[in-house]
């Protein structure tokens, strides 16, 4: 099978859905002629025309707000927010508008819209270009939040997202855009939203993670494997709604849980996962839950980010910590 990078898989998902359904359109800053600052939409305006792919004025709330109206009147917009750090500008339109339109209108209107945005760190970008803000949206009912960690998932999840009848936020770890090529089927396929994927089985402890930290968690788990320690690694893929069953099943088996994410610790996705477990699998727990996350500071400057983010050293230490309780 041919191999694609994640960014190619993302572009292909959009291209195929646009071919299939002419109500699918793309809007965002620099997504047209320029093909997006990461080239996610490269060639799509050329192929589908200026009536399907729109370069917008520089106004994020306007992008999401008009996309809500487009969706309410029959279109299926894919809106790009150039970097996730700019999504603060759109919180009303996402959390108070898109998320609630079905509810507000008692089901008369729906907002089938996808919001794509690159995020996460280790790429030496300027301030507010690397922040992981996904947890903000987990707390807003009506939204779904999807975060792929590899080309195959990216394509399948994005196709599912575009076909959803509710707004889906689709956050793409920049550092994985071109970090590897993997086999991706040519034909369109769906990966269900809301389902985690156990990417490595193990009995000694569970590590739940998603997005940019997935490869390093897997790498760490493999290193432990060589030392005879079998870690189970769960790639959440969707953080809203969280696949609680998959997590509980794993923790019931391993008795230990570590959560890894780039976002700051307090109030992050890790807190919700840990809480679900402490509500529902408390008696399975053989050790305190461990979080390896960004620290509770603003996302730091480039020269500090690699130490601040979860990295193999910190994850390894976390696992040792988790296993130290007998």
């Amino acid at each position: 099978m041919r191999k694609l990078t994640m960014i190619e898989a993302i572009r292909e998902a959009m291209e195929q859905e646009m071919e299939k359904d002419q109500n699918v359109i793309i809007l965002g800053e620099d997504v047209g002629v320029n093909g997006g600052v990461f080239r996610a939409t490269d060639g799509l305006q050329k192929k589908f025309g200026e009536d399907r792919v729109f370069d917008t004025p520089l106004a994020e709330s306007g992008i999401i707000g008009t996309a809500v109206g487009l969706a309410m009147n029959g279109m299926r917009p894919i809106a790009e927010i150039q970097f996730l750090g700019f999504i603060y500008q759109t919180m009303d339109q996402i959390c108070a508008q898109a998320a609630r339109m079905r509810y507000r209108s008692g089901g008369r209107f729906t907002v089938p819209m996808v919001i794509r945005s690159p995020f996460s760190g280790n790429v030496r970008s300027p301030e507010l270009h690397s922040d992981s803000l996904e947890a903000l949206f987990m707390h807003s009912p009506g939204l779904k939040v999807v975060i792929p960690s590899n080309p195959y998932d990216a394509k399948g999840l994005l196709i599912s997202a575009i076909r959803e009848e509710d707004p889906v936020l689709f956050f793409e770890p920049m550092k994985l855009y071109r970090s590897s090529r993997e086999e991706v089927p040519e034909e369109p396929y769906e990966i269900p939203i809301g389902k985690a994927s156990v990417i490595k089985e193990g009995e000694d402890a569970t590590i739940a993670t998603y997005g940019g930290t997935v490869p390093m968690v897997l790498k760490t788990a493999q290193a432990f494997q060589e030392k005879g320690i079998n870690l189970e690694v769960i790639d959440l893929r969707t953080i809203s709604p969280i696949d609680t069953e998959a997590i509980k099943e794993s923790v019931d088996k391993t008795g230990r849980l570590m959560i890894v994410h780039e976002a700051v610790k307090t109030g992050g996705v890790g807190a919700e996962i840990a809480t679900i477990v402490s509500e529902e699998c408390l008696y399975s727990l053989a050790a305190p839950i461990v979080r390896v996350t960004g620290y509770d500071t603003p996302y730091p400057v480039q020269t500090v980010e690699d130490d601040w983010l979860p990295n193999v050293e910190r994850i390894t230490e976390g696992v040792e910590n988790l296993l130290s309780y007998q």
């Binding site: 709330s61 109206g69 029959g74 809301g194």
Partner: protein, 359 residues
């Protein structure tokens, strides 16, 4: 039809019928309205006023929740709403109950909104109407998107979005108008400048002399119209709608009017404005003025009016009584409209909730 957009500067106020009921003959002839339409305008304005006052009373009696009255703004709402076709979209804020009714919402539906029933903000299936928006200016970009979709689908539909003078200070107003102009979508921005945003007078809202001139920032047409003159409102809205329909771009209309009552039933205007301020505007009342005009024209008599008032009062009374017998929708419906299909945790929560209430 005269093209007022060509002749008219955004800082001048367009008027056909003045406070004394005197009218601009040429403009009126140009409009060439049939009597049925004139009577329809009166019908809705009068019905609106009676309904509005009735709702205020219902609130005082504790029979409905917070209500935002529109008395004094009937001409702006009726004039613009009657200029629309049924295939045109309406995107309202919380103060356009009258527009929503003209465009298809029933009294019953609206009561269920005011009583806080789940589904109360569900526009009827066959009405091209958005739900009531509470976030100031939040609906402006939605409307632009809606109009944009009509354009992309090559539908012959124009969107009219309503908002107040206060809303023009919001970023979403600015971003929305800019998008509309850039994509040249078929939309009319209808601002009811009722001089107040709760306790904030227009002069503190902006240093701009008018709202209409804000259109210049987007290379858009802006028109200022007497919002208490139903004919002028109709004419200006009609022209803007047809312009939009022809693909000639969006228009910002400023209808200059006045909020006679408090902001909502939770507000008390005596805290921040004087009786004289209110009285000065009561003199410009849109209904009194239009009734003088109609009576002059022989299209209305005092007896006919009294009959209408009585009939409206009965109609509303009946609707309220009928509604008050309506059972609440089951509370657990609250879980059924979050997503197309509730996810497993939500289903679990729904069960717990339902079981508890049914115990």
């Amino acid at each position: 039809m005269i093209n007022i957009f060509e002749k008219h500067q955004p800082t001048e106020m367009y008027q056909i019928v003045n406070e004394r009921g005197e009218y601009n003959e040429a403009a009126l002839n140009d409009l060439n309205l049939n009597n049925e339409l004139l009577q329809n305008m009166h019908y809705w304005m009068l019905k609106g006023r009676i309904m509005d006052q009735r709702f205020l009373k219902l609130h005082r009696q504790g029979r409905i929740g917070t209500y935002g009255p529109f008395s004094g703004q009937e001409a702006a709402q009726v004039g613009s709403a009657l200029a629309l076709s049924k295939t045109d979209w309406v995107v309202p804020s919380y103060r356009e109950s009258l527009v929503s009714m003209i465009h298809g919402t029933s009294l019953k539906q609206f009561l269920s909104y005011l009583k806080g029933y789940f589904g109360g903000n569900r526009p009827p299936e066959d009405a091209k109407l958005f739900p009531i928006q509470v976030i100031i200016a939040g609906q402006v970009p939605h409307a632009v998107g809606c109009a944009w979709a009509s354009k992309l689908k090559k539908e012959d539909s124009v969107t009219t979005v309503y908002f107040g003078d206060g809303a023009t200070s919001q970023g979403d107003f600015h971003e929305g108008l800019n998008f509309a102009a850039v994509y040249n979508v078929p939309i009319v921005f209808f601002c009811q400048n009722n001089q107040w945003a709760i306790s904030t007078p227009f002069e503190k809202q902006t240093t701009s002399e008018t709202i209409a001139q804000k259109a210049i920032a987007y290379g858009m047409k802006g028109v200022r119209v007497d919002g208490n003159d139903v004919l002028a409102c109709y004419q200006v809205a009609k022209e803007a709608i047809e312009k939009a329909r022809k693909g000639e771009g969006p228009t910002l209309i400023e209808a200059v009017t006045y909020r006679r009552e408090s902001h909502t039933t939770a507000d008390d205007w005596t805290k921040y404005r004087s009786q004289e301020d209110v009285d000065a505007w009561v003199k410009k009342d849109p209904i009194v003025r239009f009734e003088r005009f109609l009576m002059n024209k022989g299209l209305l008599t005092t007896e006919r009016k009294e009959e209408m008032v009585k009939q409206f009062e009965e109609e509303i009374e009946k609707a309220v009584k009928d509604f008050e017998g309506t059972p609440l929708p089951p509370a657990h419906e609250t879980f059924d409209y979050v997503y197309e299909k509730p996810h497993p945790q939500l289903l679990k929560q729904r069960e717990e909730f339902k079981n508890r209430l049914e115990r």
